[in-house]
């Protein structure tokens, strides 16, 4: 080997070492105060659900920024660590393990497949995860899933609320016909056992209509519903592109939208806008497990924060998905508040956060105004009652049609017990 080659090699090695050192220093810069409450924020800013993810993650970050700007809670500050998982399982696993190295105490989940693939690890590591409005309905049973919190309303609660609401609108359920139009994947089918149980119990005829993925064609199903089955009321569980296609298809065949209610993921502004504008959905009922609109004190505070920083409000401010993750983040903060009371200044652990969630009461969430339902989460009930409120699209806006209510809690408990 010549001397020249040796110098060249050593130069290359030293360059590589410098690069490594730079990377290592970047890595170490990310750590911060030890007492921070680290929240894992699973985001989908890319991948099939990115349109939702971008709005929701910004909302959660805004809320944590807001709480931190007020000095945190009892001296604790929040450090949300956002990781984009593209709705892919391996990236979700990597995200989870990385949060663990950062000392995560609670995880804001997104996506049923992530809930499924992380639940065993979360239980073993005793780290709680929250899945508002999605995930598995069975996880509302806290004795069986101690570290999963499907706060607000599982698909069972949404189905139950839809049936009860239908009954009120059409004057009783006995002998009536109810149709269920759903996206044909596990998430879309999740309400089914609940609907079947209620159909037997309440004596209405249930007929289900599946929309196969990717869900961009459903005129046959909608025609079948409108012309052949002629239901008294229609429940839809569509999401993504299918939600807007569903609205358009129903309008096209002349189905009266005021006899249809969409479950929680099928009637956001984005869905109506993709169908041609909010007014296309005139009359449609939309199920929510949180408040819609910008008229809440928490959102006023966010607005003030943006003003103080001289920044423009995000475009999605006050929309359904924005409020949804403001609510989701607020639940983390409320749980941390309970945990902080327990710890009195010591470091809050993931166990404390679990007890924090289980200590959330209606009184605690009251200060959020109507943004949050009157949740009462206990060790047994990780859903907090299964609260829903229904809005109707009127004049291109969401207008409240009901207050928060919880439907058929006993039937829900029975169905969950049977499926064990």
């Amino acid at each position: 080997m010549t001397r020249h080659a040796v110098t060249a090699a050593s130069r290359q090695v030293s360059t590589a070492m410098m690069a490594c050192a730079l990377l290592a220093s970047l890595y170490s810069m990310r750590s911060s105060a030890a007492d921070d409450i680290v929240i894992g924020l699973l985001c989908d800013r890319s991948g099939p659900t990115q349109t939702n993810g971008a709005i929701m993650c910004d909302a959660a970050r805004d809320y944590f920024d807001l709480i931190n700007s007020k000095g945190g809670i009892d001296g604790y500050r929040f450090r949300p660590i956002e990781i984009d998982a593209e709705y892919k399982v391996p990236l979700g696993i990597e995200a989870y393990e990385r949060w663990k190295t950062e000392g995560v105490v609670s995880i804001m989940l997104y996506g049923t497949s992530h809930v499924q693939s992380l639940q065993q690890r979360m239980a073993e590591d005793e780290i709680p995860g929250t899945s508002p409005g999605f995930g598995t309905a069975a996880s509302s049973d806290g004795t069986r899933f101690p570290y999963l919190f499907p706060i607000a309303a599982t698909f069972y609660s949404q189905a139950a609320a839809g049936v009860q609401f239908a009954g009120e609108k059409i004057g009783g359920l006995k002998g009536k016909r109810i149709a269920f139009l759903y996206f044909d994947n596990p998430t879309g089918r999740e309400p089914m056992p609940m609907l079947e149980a209620l159909s037997k119990l309440e004596g209405f005829e249930l007929k289900t209509f599946s929309v196969p993925p990717p869900g961009i064609e459903m005129s046959a199903q909608v025609l079948d519903i409108t012309l052949r089955f002629k239901p008294d009321f229609l429940l839809t569980n569509l999401f993504g592109r299918a939600a807007s296609v569903g609205v358009k298809a129903l309008v096209r065949v002349g189905y009266p939208l005021n006899k249809a209610v969409a479950l929680a993921w099928g009637a956001t502004e984005a869905d109506f806008n993709a169908a041609g504008g909010m007014t296309v959905g005139e009359g449609y009922y939309a199920m929510m497990f949180h408040g819609v609109g910008a008229d809440y004190s928490a959102l006023d505070d966010v607005r003030e924060m943006y003003k103080a920083e001289g920044k423009k409000l995000p475009k999605a401010f006050g929309t359904v998905l924005y409020n949804r993750w403001i609510f989701h983040a607020a639940i983390q903060v409320e749980a941390a508040r309970v945990a902080a009371r327990l710890r009195k200044g010591a470091k809050i652990t993931s166990q404390d956060m679990r007890h924090g969630f289980e200590g959330i009461s209606a009184a605690a969430v009251k200060k959020l105004g109507g943004l949050a339902p009157p949740l009462h989460i206990t060790e047994e009930d990780h859903e907090g009652g299964g609260w829903i409120q229904i809005y109707q699209i009127t004049g291109g806006k969401y207008v409240k049609a009901t207050e928060y209510f919880s439907a058929f809690p006993d039937v829900k408990a029975d169905v969950i017990r049977q499926r064990r």
């Binding site: 970050r61 399982v89 391996p90």
Partner: protein, 337 residues
């Protein structure tokens, strides 16, 4: 003698030492990534036998993984099968289904075969989704308890690492040896010119179906390992996107080579994570991290795509050829040129 040359003996010993050392040196986070790579390697080797060696392109690999996963999950939950039964059973079931799916390959080839494997992917997905006896209910997911080895329950990433490593070693050794057997040679003959192969006396029907079955066996085993690793068999983990990821692994890694499958599995699994971390590191250096979060994903996908294109332009034969080139250069490095 198993390993005739001194060099191969030393490299195997060195490799074993590295694998052992990693289990002690690496932390749980790093091991979790290695474990994901391990599972991907098993699947990628299987697909490469079919696509690279035999020349039958398939985009139904994810579905075969799901067949293995659900077979094992049902065995584990209903019959309390131990892992040493569940893993081969999952592989065997996937092999059977793979054999059936391979039947069209006897008549059609090229892009038409791709479409028929796509159909298989969708049919298997649909079946698992709708037959509750297989899928365990509307959610199409079956929770599986952690595997126990000699009465010892595997929980941590380190334990899983030690559990998965022997399977990866077995998969690699089996694939390398397969290439040297009559079956392996027949696969290559079929890939290069199937009519000529038939004239030489190779039974095309038998070997094409065998290729599908062996490939699906690997996929099934990989699916079972994934199920054990995640603690759940869930159909969303085996959708069409996963099939395409695996195809990307073997193409980027290098068709028809075991080393290529390994390199491809590492590349496709780790690249998105590395790009993200680099961008985040860069962001914190420029102290604009708050808003950067919104741009990283877009940049990440762009960079990921660009890197794949660059790699394929630099070396169309994949990472394996790149490796051989570098090795060749290093051998001569410092000597007169």
């Amino acid at each position: 003698m198993v390993l005739p040359s001194l060099q191969s003996r030393y490299s195997i010993m060195a490799l074993t030492a590295v694998v052992l050392a990693v289990s002690f040196v690496a932390d749980e986070y790093q091991l979790s990534i290695v474990n994901l790579i391990f599972i991907a390697i098993v699947g990628a080797i299987g697909l490469n036998i079919l696509v690279g060696n035999t020349g039958q392109v398939s985009i139904g690999h994810g579905a075969f993984m799901s067949v293995g996963a659900y077979t094992a999950a049902n065995l584990i939950v209903r019959l309390h099968s131990p892992f040493w039964l569940a893993i081969p059973a999952g592989g065997a079931m996937a092999a059977v289904i793979g054999g059936v799916v391979g039947i069209p390959s006897l008549r059609i080839r090229g892009i038409y075969l791709v479409i028929s494997t796509l159909a298989a992917q969708l049919i298997i997905e649909w079946t698992i989704n709708h037959v509750h006896a297989i899928s365990g209910g509307t959610q199409a997911s079956i929770n599986v308890p952690r595997p126990t080895v000699f009465g010892f329950e595997l929980k941590t990433q380190q334990q899983f690492y030690c559990f998965l490593a022997p399977f990866v070693a077995l998969a690699i050794v089996a694939a390398l040896n397969l290439g040297r057997t009559r079956i392996g040679r027949a696969f290559i003959a079929i890939r290069d010119q199937d009519i000529a192969a038939e004239i030489m006396g190779i039974n095309i029907t038998r070997y094409k179906l065998t290729a599908f079955m062996i490939s699906s066996f690997y996929a099934g085993v990989s699916g079972v390992l994934y199920t054990y690793f995640l603690g759940v068999a869930n159909y969303e983990q085996f959708q069409i996107g996963v099939s395409i990821d695996y195809l990307a692994m073997v193409i980027i890694g290098g068709l028809g080579s075991v080393r290529g499958s390994v390199l491809g599995a590492i590349f496709v699994t780790v690249l998105p994570m590395v790009v993200r971390q680099l961008l985040e590191g860069l962001g914190s250096l420029l102290s604009v991290s708050t808003k950067l979060g919104q741009y990283i994903p877009q940049m990440r996908l762009t960079i990921f795509g660009a890197l794949i294109i660059i790699f394929l332009i630099v070396e169309p034969d994949g990472l394996n050829r790149l490796w051989l080139n570098v090795r060749g250069r290093l051998r001569w490095w410092g000597h007169a040129q």
